[in-house]
């Protein structure tokens, strides 16, 4: 049971933490994340880095889909732009930091350039246009051979930073801390953005473009900015992903990755930064869990033939169940559980019921 909270100042509405206890929770989480390599061992630390990279990519998608309401089915394209730019620059002798910054910038700018024509579309049409974009980039990655290394792709060089040589396999713990610090930075920037007028205008555009326009929000500019920022974060994630998997080629960023990214943020819960992290955990833990379950089953004598695509099918089933029962994803489940404890024993079933909207065509007057 928590004490009731009263807001006594206007700042209470935009404070990053609701209360001291809330701040303590996040400090604990950060402490846990810092201590993780000692708790988990090097293999699972590597997996945790993978969670962090996917969380970063998820945050990019979340900013666009969850907070600005523009659906993208082609974000792997921007991961590809980030990864190829970053690795190509590093292979040409650039230092890690400027290469990373340039890659982020290039992804952001290409996002901004593409946003103008594409964001005139909305809803399903936007999803399709971004899907087409994702498919085009797949082939572009082969055609642009001088940058991307063509079909063979690029191999990630080790990172030289503060006199350390950081390599995902050689020094997984150092790589983990690198990912962690970048993710923490981006998360802080993201949550700050949401407290700022710009972030508020993103939410306004998501909830109703017409009302946003009436309130003086420049909708086109806001959408373009959201798209650019989202692409920049995704590009940064792509660059880190390049170091995580050590070698990238056109097959690293197939359209299926774009779809998985969208599904990831939806499983996590649209419209919350937590969602990006929850989704990344599911994406990374699920294949591991299935592999472990398969081993256990074969130990007791049940042979599960290796069905290709089982991971994705189980993931898809989780999505279907979540969509039907809790459209706000795992974050929604977490909210319900938390509220149940906070209000115990007064929790009511319909507390989180969503208003339904009835369809009117967009095709005819």
């Amino acid at each position: 049971m928590s004490k009731p909270r009263f807001k006594t100042r206007y700042d209470d509405d935009i404070n990053r933490f609701e209360s001291g206890g809330h701040r303590l929770q996040y400090l604990l989480l950060l402490g846990l994340a810092l201590a993780a390599p000692w708790l988990l061992g090097s293999y699972y630390t590597g997996e945790l880095s993978s969670v962090l990279v996917w969380s970063m990519a998820g945050m990019g998608v979340m900013l666009l889909v969850g907070h600005t309401g523009q659906v993208s089915l082609g974000h792997a394209a921007f991961m590809a732009i980030g990864a190829f730019t970053h690795l190509a620059l590093m292979l040409r002798g650039w230092h890690f930091v400027p290469a990373l910054m340039t890659a982020t910038l290039v992804s952001g700018i290409s996002g901004a350039l593409l946003a103008r024509p594409i964001l005139r579309l909305s809803g399903i049409y936007l999803a399709i246009a971004t899907l087409a974009l994702g498919i085009l980039v797949e082939d572009l990655a082969i055609v642009a051979e001088p940058v991307t290394g063509g079909v063979r792709g690029l191999i990630a060089p080790p990172i030289e930073l503060f006199g350390l040589t950081i390599d995902r396999h050689g020094t997984p713990i150092a790589f983990y801390y690198l990912c962690l610090s970048l993710v923490v930075l981006v998360t802080l920037a993201y949550s700050n953005l949401l407290r700022s007028p710009t972030g508020r205008s993103f939410l306004a555009v998501r909830d109703s473009e017409i009302s946003a326009r009436a309130l003086g929000v420049n909708v086109t500019r806001t959408k373009t900015l959201a798209f650019a920022l989202s692409c920049a974060i995704t590009g940064l994630a792509g660059a880190l992903y390049g170091h995580l998997v050590q070698a990238v080629n056109f097959e690293s960023f197939l359209v299926i990755i774009s779809i998985a990214l969208l599904l990831q943020v939806i499983v996590g819960g649209l419209g919350s930064i937590h969602g990006a992290f929850f989704g990344a955990v599911v994406i990374v833990v699920l294949p591991q869990g299935i592999a472990i379950a398969r081993d256990l089953l074969s130990d007791v004598g049940i042979r599960v033939a290796a069905f290709p695509g089982l991971d994705m099918a189980v993931f898809a089933l989780i999505i279907i169940v979540l969509m039907v029962l809790e459209p706000r994803g795992l974050y929604g489940v977490w909210l319900r559980v938390r509220t149940w404890f906070e209000l115990f024993p007064l929790y009511r079933k319909g507390l989180f019921r969503r208003a339904r909207s009835y369809l009117k065509t967009e095709r005819l007057k």
């Binding site: 659906v71 399903i124 049409y125 085009l136 898809a316 909207s357």
Partner: protein, 292 residues
Amino acid sequence: MDTLQLLISGIANGCIYGLIALGFVLIYKASESVNFAQGDMMILGAFLAIALINTNQADLPFLLGLAIAGLSLGLFAYLLDALLLRRVFGQPQLTMVVLTIALGFVLRFIIGAIWGHDPVSLETPVAGQRLDIGGLAIPVIDAVIIATTVVLVALLWLFFARTRLGLAMQASSQNQMAAYYMGIPVKRVVSLVWAMSGVVAAIAGVLFAAKGAVEPSAGLVFGIKAFAAAVIGGLGSLPGALAGGLLIGIMEPFAARHLPSHVAQVSPYALMLLVLILRPSGLFAQVRQKKV
């Protein structure tokens, strides 16, 4: 002559794209959402037909097998909507998009687990036969595909324009609430549209498997391409879907011959992106002013 030959093969391919695109349009017309599992439903129809018709499988007569495959896929789609998709009725469009994407993954997995991942083709009574018209050798199956598509589009168009149920379907897509007040059982109507799109998907799948070979993973690529066709034609227009399908079908062999292979591969998507940017509601647009 060569060009003409290429053209006819392209038209036959385009008809199959057009048929899948029809499935998209049907769903879009009824519920203003997109069924991303359409390609996988087509593959499911194809594998059902193969399991029923091929001599090393159930070995049923061709037309009987076709009818059973079509009807069972129709029933499957009806139940899919009635039992699962109806539950997200009234939620944002994205929910439906995501749900059908996920369904596509599950279907693909199930098809692969049952029938394996090798390409198979359907045995037809007309396999290998050719029509000889003025020096052109047209495979009979191509002629069958074109004829079936034309008849199906005409029937569907008549259905939507002339029958009570067709009108009810249009009404429930334009304004669900108003349609409900007018006594249209909106939910059942939407399920019926799903059933129809299931039947159309099965027919497309059968034609596809008769012309070439199918494998479970083909559904995604084919679905996206057919989707491009539907978008180029303008989602929501039946003739538009066919025209878009034909455009892509005809473009592909010519692009493959005259352009470098990377460019040829992405040409349908590039065309779709171009149409979306220049004419966002498709070539056969139905969109007029959107009001508040």
